[in-house]
């Protein structure tokens, strides 16, 4: 289908984009990479009055490493992440996950900030950001605020961003020497949205977990940390106990691809696979 008619304006700075957002209000949509927005427009699931194109704000397309960690500009594209030695070194979970994000022709346009702000429950990056305990930097008319990943995803395609705010960067703490990560997703075809996926990040010392975050995606309405399962593993509990706890951590949904009970089963399969591999590797 063809998109409904809309106006278009290109912003060249965050300040300009913010004032355009304020001026046009809820009728406006930000256009970053457009790889989720354009399908929604073409399918007429979304019909904004005006698109504010922020994709050429070059200041937001950057990967900076400093003693305080990684700072990734919101308009950094998936292909940029994939090709970055800094990401491979300081957030290898992202490098590992990004190859599962759609296909080369979409990774060349799609952005990390766009993916996070879109908050698709089946997307890989929200779960990675949860597992990495990242911070999201938002700019609005009242200035800059930092939102922890754990309180960013609030519902189905819903985030803690206010309508007049723009996500500008993602901050990730420096990796510890004992950091380890794991990632796996189950999909029917390469590049498809996962039926269930798991992005995990943790630390191990003397054969035990000192830190572990299990970010599930495509299970329920939003990317979710399996807090109780992680707690059990950190406390020295077994994988069986942790797998059982997933029943309390996750609220899987039914859809055409899989039933809720299949999803929970698959979430447990992934837990065993990913955690076992991380324990063996660490």
């Amino acid at each position: 289908m063809k998109a409904a008619a809309f106006d278009y304006v290109r912003a060249t700075s965050v300040g300009e984009a913010l004032s355009l957002l304020t001026r046009h209000g809820t009728g406006a949509k930000l256009l970053a990479g457009g790889q989720s927005l354009l399908p929604a427009l073409n399918l007429r699931l979304s019909a904004p009055d005006i698109l504010i194109d922020i994709s050429r704000i070059d200041a937001l397309r950057s990967i900076v490493v400093s003693p305080s960690g990684l700072k990734i500009g919101a308009l950094t594209r998936h292909a940029d992440l994939l090709g970055s030695a800094d990401i491979a070194r300081h957030a290898p979970l992202l490098s590992r996950a990004i190859v599962h994000v759609a296909h080369a022709a979409l990774r060349s346009r799609g952005t990390i900030g766009g993916s996070l702000a879109n908050a698709d429950p089946a997307a890989e990056l929200p779960a990675c950001i949860l597992a990495l305990a990242a911070r999201l930097v938002a700019e609005g008319p009242d200035g800059v605020r930092v939102i922890p990943a754990s309180s960013f995803f609030t519902g189905l395609f819903e985030t803690a961003l206010r309508p007049d705010e723009i996500l500008t960067a993602i901050e990730i703490d420096p990796q510890h020497a004992d950091a380890t990560h794991g990632f796996e997703e189950l999909a029917r075809r390469s590049g498809d949205y996962a039926i269930v996926g798991l992005a995990a990040q943790g630390r191990r010392a003397n054969g035990a977990w000192t830190e572990l975050r299990l970010g599930y995606f495509s299970v329920g309405t939003r990317a979710t940390l399996a807090l109780q399962a992680a707690e059990i593993l950190i406390g020295g509990g077994s994988l069986d106990e942790a797998a059982a706890a997933l029943g309390r951590d996750l609220q899987p949904h039914d859809d055409l691809q899989a039933s809720a009970s299949t999803r929970l089963h698959l979430a447990r399969v992934l837990l065993r696979r990913v955690v076992t591999r991380m324990e063996t590797a660490a």
Partner: protein, 167 residues
Amino acid sequence: MNITLSVNGETVTADVLPRTHLVDFLREQLGLTGSHLGCEHGVCGACTVRLDGDIVRGCLVLAVQADGCVVETIEGLSDTGEIADLQAAFIARNALQCGFCTPAMLIAAQDLLRHGGVPTREEIREHLSGNYCRCTGYQAIVDAVEQTARQRHDAVESTAGTREAAR
């Protein structure tokens, strides 16, 4: 809105509606019908074109977003001879039937091949996984891409060998 861009090496200035995506613009305003429109929501890959050197879904980029950019379509890649060997391999291997997916398949395959080396069949399949073909079952396409990769690799090797021998 007025846009100016380079399409297959020629500078084009045009007036487009904001909602017009790149492939509709190429097909309907410029008559470049080699880029096809299948699903129109980024799944089938038939609209793949090059934008500033990277492959993109032409249905997921607005024409206004291509303002100031360099666009290359199958017409351009054919005319420059950049993929002549790949096209010949597609014909030799019977890697197309109806041909609807073929222009995009060639562009996606060339995107992999231009990075050099000989990709494994698995890597070829992975790179083409965003391009649907409903006729061939993909086997012959992978064959053609693999054959072209080998030929290019051998050509580079033999050129290097000739240079070595001439010393």
